[in-house]
Amino acid sequence: MSNAVLVLIEPDEGRVHLVSREALTFARQLGGEVHALMLGTVDEAVLADCREQGVAVVHEAQAAGGELDAYSAAAWATALEQALEGAGAATVLAGGTERGTEVLAHVAARRDLPMAANVLAVTSTEPLEVERQVAGGAVLERMRLDATPAVLTMAGHAVEAVAAASPGAAEHRTFEARVTPADLRARVQRVQARGGGDSSAALSAARVVVGAGRGAGSADGFADVDALAQRLGGAVGVSRAVTSLGWRPHHEQVGQTGSRIAPDVYIACGISGAIQHWAGVSSSKTIIAINTDADAPMMTKADYAVVGDMHEVLPAILEELDRA
């Protein structure tokens, strides 16, 4: 067996997916000949990316019966195993996408091989040792990968995708995948595209949540909060202090003892950010805090902060939205 590296690559908007290109860059560092496998049509754009990444051979799996038209991890694994034989690869690699991880896990399971997911770097080649992310990236693990072929997936953005010093040949080889009926027992039947914004979204599913705390001042201090939530098609969430004071109903409470939310954006107005509140909102993708106290925990943990009185800032935002 050669020391070739086979990389499972995926397409993205007509090109090779960024994480696949990162995997290719990483594969070059391993020193062997780099092969790529694409399930589906390899066009000139893909070949161009592969050449840039120094890929020697680009394998394209085809299935005359349409077995590869819909995603099936097992079918992909079958094709990958064939490419692995074809390339005589000592290492099989994928970007850390859901599919990349799943397909390689199938290969590892079938061949009773160890697998390393979310690899950041190779720390030793003889024997092969890698450093990888575990616990959601919070911890690094050094792992021995002493079987051939070595099966590993890359952690996202572990390396930067850079062009090879000299372009690869990117020889395009096509083969017929020998997909079995067993491979097709689990196969994507249909895909439903993501729906548009639902203005009456429940708090826990809302894409936008406008939060308000004691800074609202009184039960009458929520007009701007309601208006902004409505304007953004989101929901209103309040802190425990607010429900405790009877200003708003309990079902709007967000935090440890209320709803936990994970919106695209959480706009926290006049909320200091007590730990119990934070526990309920920390999964938000973006947090914008508005507070008079720049030292409040919510202001120091947020992505964006506005120092000011919510009763002055919110009307200005609404005005700005109207203008835009």
Partner: protein
């Protein structure tokens, strides 16, 4: 963020309820340049305040805690963060009902409105409570909940509005700077601050901070489990935070407190789970906050079951989920009291720790007063950091007692109840002999002291009904009729008492006389060999202590005081030593044995060549005598009203002295008697006051019946105040009362144990000139009188001999009569026995 100043008049470390209250009150009292630090963010830096249940029950058996709590409630109300909900302590057993009746006594003794309620009445107030599970309840309408975080913010803001305070959050203290025993500053992750006063208000972290300076704040972080269940259908319709009374399910050590549509269930019933300070996570490491540790559900499951019994529908609601469950950390101390005041180890370093939400603002005010004026308005001697003896500051002791005390949080704690852990520690030299005599040991500041001797059991038969047996188990718990039999034997022949537990310290040096004269009320300028019994006052002319002082040489005085308050006395004196005088603690070097009674002189005379006849060895004098080959300092005073001596010997000779006294006493009927005689029966018959019960910083000598006809010429602490007091009539008068009839409605004779309210014969309240309700400060048998006697401060117009009043005990009234309105003893009022005339 505020800049960290490099200098401050005071640095307060901690921004929980305690630190926040303290900076507010310091600012109110005129302090400026206050810096407050916390390692966490505001307004919830992550300490125990952040997860507190925030309810306040104003009734406490302990007066100090009760007064602080009532002051805190006033402050919370003034800030607008108090919501009155009412609170009910419910009983599932008859034994608990008795405890609730005792709580009624404590309630009446403080003038707090409370009443006993039936299960049906409880169910009317709390419809989701299952009345068949309980036998009754104790309802206090003024119970409420507070927003302690909001209160903290308000108090910080008030101090900042006075331009007195700089608050710096997210800064951690890394070291305390100490020079020559005085704190000089604080090193932090944000830089160094120079300050001559530093307060540790760091809750569970306080021991670590104290250690940085070489001081001790002996507390341990301990787990209090709490869950929140919700949303409960029955609560969801009610607006606001709380609309039903808080329930304390005393027999299961649980509470149920509504919080919006959630019900919080908290427990003190699980095993004691103690942590070390170094095991507490940082704000970053913690999942919630450092003091909200991972919930251990196994520990809580039994509690849940019991809570479900009490509130089956509400808590059994399938829609009510357990979303929040923590092992919350709070501070436990070895004796259950807060730890406040200047540390005895480091000048200028103060502790403000182990303070609960209900005490926060009151303690904040008291500590600020203490720091400003030298003493707080409300007496805090039980909470004083200087109360701890060295062994009580050890980790093992703290953990043992805190673990044992945890279950007492809601427990039925008898006033005489003894600790079982962390014993024995301090053994008197005659301990082996005492054990052989069947001593029943009670603990005093670590000392094992015989409370009575089983070897004296035959005396119970000898004296028959005169030993005043007690029928009721509660009244006779931690008590024995042998105490009264020993008492009678002492009055008949004599008694020998081990007093090794005394705290003894010497004042030495060329300025010793001036030093002592400045501290005590009595005239210290007396000949060598005089013994003085004297109050020690503070600047306000109220009691700091009462103790005896022997002049042993022109430049040498020896102070003898009780063990429980001795460490505070030692600090009080040490702090007030001028150049040229020092205090030296000789407690562990001196063993003391008391010998008193009609045959005392005969016993001592048989052992010494010295002339110990009453004429030759005058009362109030001391001298060195020889008991065979033992050099003994004999001091002729008495706390039991009999002729006799305190005999002081080097510790290692204590056992020999004891043996010789026992042997010489035996043929004369002189027996070893326990401390029960010394501290209760003997002294109560004689009207002798005790510090901590009758005497404390809320009382003046005039009120205690201890005013002097004239004051010494020399100046002394409190003199000015005494002179000023002299012009006014006392606002309360300490009286001795006798119980006229002990028979309860059930026919059982009952005996009060102390703490009960004194009322008019028909149950009317008695309020003195301070606004305090009359209550029993001490209660004891007076076997020589055949009566049960009580001491109580009464309103002056009620303080007349023969006045007929009542004492409320377990919710029944018993008739009492005032027997004495000053220090005149009920027994031997002429003190002929004390003079040696039998």
């Amino acid at each position: 963020m505020a800049e960290l100043p490099d200098r401050a008049s005071v640095v307060v470390i901690g921004a929980g309820i305690v630190g926040n209250s303290l900076v507010h009150h310091l600012a109110e009292l005129g302090w400026t340049d206050i810096v407050q630090l916390d390692k966490g963010p505001l307004p919830n830096p992550g300490g125990s305040t952040g997860h507190a249940s925030n309810f306040i029950f104003p009734v406490d058996h302990n007066r100090e805690i009760a007064e602080i709590t009532l002051d805190s409630m006033r402050q919370y109300k003034e800030m607008g963060v108090f919501t009155e909900s009412g609170g009910i302590e419910v009983a599932r057993t008859e034994e608990r009902m008795e405890e609730l009746r005792r709580r009624m006594s404590s309630s009446r003794a403080r003038g707090v409105e409370s009443r006993m309620v039936t299960p049906q009445e409880v169910a009317e107030m709390v419809p989701f409570l299952e009345p068949s599970v309980i036998v009754g309840g104790f309802y206090t309408p003024s119970v409420g909940v507070v927003d302690s975080l909001r209160a903290g913010t308000i108090m910080r803001e008030r101090a900042m509005a006075r331009n007195a305070l700089t608050v710096v959050a997210n800064v951690e203290v890394t070291d305390l700077l100490v020079e020559d025993g005085h704190v000089r500053g604080v090193e932090t992750t944000g830089g160094t601050i120079h300050a001559d006063t530093v307060v540790i208000a760091c809750g569970v972290w306080s021991p670590r901070l104290a250690q940085m300076a070489g001081a001790h704040i002996p507390l341990t972080p301990a787990v209090h489990q709490m869950i929140s269940v919700g949303p409960c259908t029955a609560l969801a319709e009610k607006p606001g935070e709380i609309s039903f009374p808080i329930i304390r399910d005393m027999d299961t050590f649980c509470y149920e407190r509504q919080h919006g549509s959630d019900m919080e269930v908290g427990s003190y019933g699980h095993r004691a789970i103690l942590h070390d300070v170094d095991e507490i996570p940082s704000n970053e490491q913690a999942k919630l906050s450092p003091t909200e540790m991972p919930f251990t559900s196994d520990d809580f499951d039994p509690q849940l079951e019991q809570a479900l019994e009490l509130m089956p529908e509400l808590l059994g609601d399938e829609k009510a989920e357990m979303r929040y469950a923590i092992n919350g950390l709070l501070s436990l101390t070895p004796d259950g009291f807060p730890i406040v005041g200047e540390t005895p180890e480091v000048k200028g370093l103060w502790s403000a720790a182990a303070i609960w939400i209900k005490e926060g603002p009151g303690m904040g005010r008291a500590i600020a007063e203490w720091m400003t004026h030298g003493q707080p308005e409300i007496d805090l001697h039980q909470s004083d950091v200087s109360r701890f003896h060295p062994h009580q500051r050890t980790r093992a002791h703290v953990r043992s007692r805190a673990g044992e005390g945890f279950i007492k949080t809601y427990g039925i704690v008898h006033p005489g109840e003894q600790w079982s852990g962390s014993r024995p520690v301090r053994l008197a030299p005659m301990h082996a002999s005492q054990k052989e005599l069947g001593a029943v040991f009670f603990e005093a500041s670590g000392w094992e002291r015989p409370q009575w001797y089983e070897s004296n059991a035959p005396l119970v038969e000898k004296f028959g009904d005169a030993v005043m047996p007690r029928e009721h188990e509660w009244d006779s718990r931690w008590w024995s009729p042998i105490i009264n039999a020993e008492h009678l034997q002492m009055r008949e022949a004599g008694g020998i008492v081990d007093l090794t537990a005394f705290v003894v310290f010497d004042v030495l040096g060329p300025q010793a006389l001036e030093a002592v004269d400045r501290v005590i009320v009595a005239n210290a300028d007396v000949p060598v060999g005089k013994v003085l019994y004297t109050p020690v006052l503070d600047e306000r002319g109220v009691f700091r202590s009462d103790l005896t002082v022997m002049r042993l040489a022109h430049d040498h005085f020896r102070v003898v005081t009780g063990s429980s308050h001795g460490m505070q006395d030692l600090k009080w004196w040490t702090d007030r030593m001028p150049e040229g005088a020092v205090c030296v603690d000789v407690t562990s070097a001196v063993s003391t044995v008391g010998l008193w009674g009609p045959q005392a002189a005969a016993v001592l005379g048989s052992l010494t060549a010295a002339d110990v006849s009453p004429g030759a060895f005058a009362f109030g004098t001391c001298r060195q005598i020889e008991i065979g080959n033992l050099p003994v300092l004999a001091s002729r005073i008495s706390y039991v009203g009999e002729h006799g001596w305190e005999l002081h010997v080097p510790m290692e000779m204590g056992a020999a002295l004891w043996d010789r006294l026992l042997e010489a006493g035996r043929p004369l009927g002189v027996v070893p008697v326990g401390i029960g005689v010394y501290t209760t029966t003997g002294r109560m018959e004689k009207g002798y006051r005790a510090y901590g019960t009758e005497l404390d910083a809320d009382r003046t000598p005039a009120e205690a019946g201890m005013a002097r006809a004239r004051l010494k010429d020399a100046d002394f602490i409190g003199k000015e105040a005494l002179v000023a007091q002299g012009a006014d009539a006392p606002r309360a008068v300490l009286c001795t009362l006798t119980v006229d009839d002990h028979t309860s409605t059930s026919g059982t004779k009952r005996y009060m144990l102390g703490g009960e309210p004194i009322l008019t014969r028909d149950g009317g309240e008695l309020v003195d000139g301070h606004g305090n309700h009359a209550y029993v400060t001490s209660a004891a048998s007076a076997p020589s009188l055949g009566r049960h006697v009580l001491m109580a401060y009464l309103p002056p117009d009620q303080a007349s001999v023969g006045n007929e009043l009542a004492v409320s005990y377990m919710e029944e009234l018993y008739p009492v009569t005032v027997g004495s309105v000053d220090a005149t003893p009920l027994f031997d009022p002429e003190n002929t026995r004390l003079k040696g005339r039998y």
